[in-house]
Subunit: 504 residues, 2 copies
């Protein structure tokens, strides 16, 4: 006989949902990696059937009362944190009427499907004809979530990915970046113009590329007994904490994109693999948020991957895989990895230009949801902001402008800020690490990544959703998110040369 | 407003079950092919969760009345056939109490898990200690199914795989084979002793083997847009009709096992890929039975694969893949494929020895279920029958005797007959084909497999479960299953040399 019958009934339900979500995750991964084309229709129907079933469990009418009663039960702090997350998930699942979810599904499917061709055809007008309905639905969704959750409409959308984040905070953080980013970028470009540059010469056989990617994953602590690396058109990290399915893509004429992309996904993968085992299946054991998730992939790709010590580790592997080349010398390789070059495409952007792409999108999608900007206005705003932030002319080039991302056609508003919040968190993790461990850069330069991995594991990975994001950051670093660490990181790396003690 | 509300509610339910079974099939395939070891526990839990859910739908109390009312609705012949299959599935799902299913799950998991090591250790006594419980549960299961379905206990188990098949029929068919098989085998061994034999020389690179396997699959009509070939420890054909997942395994020192195994699985795969699309999701669109399924894999592997024309098709592919060798000459290759050599292991058996392995198992498992034989008696019976049927001494060798198959440790009684019934059906399909198309062997010899594939598609694949097995055979061949075609096939192939007109 338990003293917490309602809490226990809720954890039992989430255990069952976790098991079914395992199958959703597997089937989604397979759809992107191995599924033959004629399997798509049956797969979509199977995924929808199971998703509908899970949603019916999450919206079961008795849940409200069970959660309320559980809140009055005698729970441990950890159980109470789990109940907080259960309640948050319940609010998310119950805030929207099924009819609206179905309308969204239809509108975003149509818009996303047509977008694939419209992007190729630079067809903004065609896109707009479907996108207007997507925006209308997103606004209704935001308003309903806002009413339910007591935050602003855009915040309500953002909370699906970054719970607790306020627009005022994003404004402050991004406002700071906006002020120093354009001048920093100009200085870095000037600084790099004087450095010699060696270009790797291909082809780079795919089998050898895969071996190097797997070496990097092992170095970073990825457990191949509990996960895989496969190939998909768009790299991602999927699967479940018990069985992480990462993907990459290979090109014979270029290896760095695949390698650094794999390093990025490995950050996501290690986070998932190191979520706490004892509470797996409960919301408290889920990764904290998308920005925290991104802070892990960027800790690996940018903080470690862009470190001169990482180039020194990679150098012999690349020589083994592709033969000796001047571009594989540690210094050359590091310059290649940290090369800055503003461009039109977000996913190809370097570490300094990337925040500009995100700030631009935030400054468009927030007023779009709030109604002060209309979808028709986006291209003009895009042109203006690309010029301001990166000095690039995008007029008439919708394909490499507003049509480049899948997020908006899919109705994913409120997600973009996570990328740059993640970069800021990652800089703050490493600033804390260096404070606690002054020899860190020497260790990384000599291939000792263990201190970094142990810190991330103890402070982020095994904490999962035990704390709110604010608490997590405070406990890990002693202060709230502070964009100054990101600025310092960029200035140190890109203007002052390698960190002291890195051995160069 | 429909005139058949109950029938429609049943088809809607089966459509939903079909969608969820898609996910079960995918997750099972992945477990055998790609899943890393540490994913197993979560996978097992996810599969069990979904299987339990599906079972709860299949045993929902209102179903009995809905099926009864649907039987009184105004249905087309095809709908009525579907309802017959719905009713059969409902009977199967509802005949056993959940407690017995759970007991079986625990007992067979324990027995199968321990068997993996016990087989290697030749440990019959250790195996027996778990197996006694498996047999006790199977007997109870058989008795309950028997009471429910009104057939004998062993028949009730067999009907899960081969609906409608009676013991009297199996006795008659296998009795016939038992009478002519040992003398035929002796004659064939004598006949082959005088033929020259060239042995292929390896190694055979896996990538080249895979190419040859895929060539064979394409030749046999497998649609790679709707299926895949991957690798697993034990080859199988899984997935769904819309997305068939075949597996094989490769050895560098031998290629024929993998190639002919792939040809075998392609028979299963093409059957699944060609099930009728318009009723997919309904029981009427499922493959008819396991023996009919096996008749398709054996039509491909034995009837076509053992045809001299098939060796002629393979010959240039093998030379391309592995370089010219005397063993790849069409005559040598055909002799290699049709080489007869009695051995201890069923899955390695040639076309003539194979039925002996099956008859032995049938003659043991049937009285075991009926209670006239006890598990303790199996080794002695095994020794006796291996000597009678194949002239082999198996005393004390449990590993290559009773412990060789996974079926009994898993509680799969009543399945074995399907293999040899399938071989008989396959022989009867080809006898019919030759009667209808006297030029068939010339066509096969010249690489025209289209007439075979069209016949199988029209008579078997797209018929699915439209008819009972007896009706299906009668419609396809004009008579009931007749083992004489199988005897004639073996005698012609193995004693008289290649069929007339084959070009040799």
């Amino acid at each position: 006989m338990t003293l917490t019958p309602d809490y226990d009934s809720l954890t039992a339900l989430h255990q069952r949902i976790h098991r079914l979500e395992h199958l959703l995750a597997l089937a989604s991964w397979d759809r992107a990696s191995f599924m033959p084309p004629k399997g798509n229709e049956a797969r979509a129907a199977a995924l929808a059937e199971l998703a509908t079933l899970i949603h019916s469990w999450q919206t079961e009418p008795s849940l409200r009362a069970r959660i309320e009663r559980a809140q009055r039960e005698s729970l441990s702090d950890e159980q109470r944190a789990n109940l907080r997350e259960i309640h948050r998930g319940w609010e998310q699942a119950n805030a929207l009427p099924v009819a609206l979810i179905e309308r969204r599904q239809i509108a975003t499917s149509r818009c996303e499907h047509a977008w694939r061709m419209q992007r190729k055809a630079n067809d903004w007008r065609g896109f707009l004809s479907n996108f207007l309905e997507v925006v209308a639905i997103a606004r209704e969704e935001a308003q309903r979530l806002s009413d339910h959750l007591g935050v602003s409409p855009y915040e309500a959308l953002m909370h699906r990915f970054e719970p607790g984040m306020r627009c005022a905070t994003v404004d402050r953080l991004f406002g700071a970046v906006r002020s120093w980013l354009p001048p920093l970028l100009a200085k870095v470009l000037e600084h790099q113009a004087h450095k010699p540059r060696a270009v790797p010469s291909g082809p780079f056989p795919v089998a050898a590329q895969r071996r190097v990617c797997e070496q990097a994953m092992r170095l970073l602590g990825f457990d191949f007994e509990a996960g895989r690396l496969d190939v998909s058109a768009h790299p991602f990290c999927g699967g479940t904490p018990e069985d992480v399915r990462m993907t990459t893509r290979f090109r014979e004429d270029e290896f760095l994109g695949s390698l650094m992309g794999t390093v990025h996904e490995t950050g996501h993968g290690c986070y998932e693999q190191n979520l706490p085992r004892h509470s797996l299946g409960q919301p408290i054991a889920l990764a904290r948020s998308m920005a925290i998730h991104e802070s892990q992939s960027l800790s690996f790709e940018m903080q470690l991957g862009g470190h001169p010590g990482f180039a020194r580790l990679l150098s012999p592997w690349l020589c083994d895989a592709f033969g000796h080349q001047p571009a594989f010398e540690p210094d050359s390789l590091h310059r290649l990895i940290t090369q800055v070059q503003p461009g039109l495409i977000r996913v190809e952007a370097d570490e300094i230009s990337y925040p500009a792409h995100i700030i631009l999108r935030y400054e468009i999608e927030r007023p779009l949801i709030e109604g002060s900007v209309e979808a028709q206005d986006i291209p003009a705003l895009w042109d203006l902001k690309m010029d301001e932030l990166l000095g690039l002319d995008t007029r008439g080039n919708y394909a490499d402008g507003v049509l480049q991302d899948v997020h908006w056609p899919e109705g994913l508003f409120g997600y973009f800020p996570c990328y740059t919040l993640g970069a800021m968190y990652a800089a703050q993790w490493f600033a804390t690490l260096r404070r606690q461990r002054p020899q860190l850069d020497v260790e990384i330069a000599s291939g000792q990544l263990e201190p970094v991995l142990v810190w991330l594991r103890d402070n982020i990975w095994i904490q999962a959703s035990r704390w709110t994001t604010e608490e997590l950051v405070l406990r890990a670093t002693g202060e709230a998110l502070n964009p100054e660490y990101f600025r310092q990181h960029l200035a140190t790396r890109y203007l002052e040369g390698p960190p002291a003690g890195s051995g160069e």
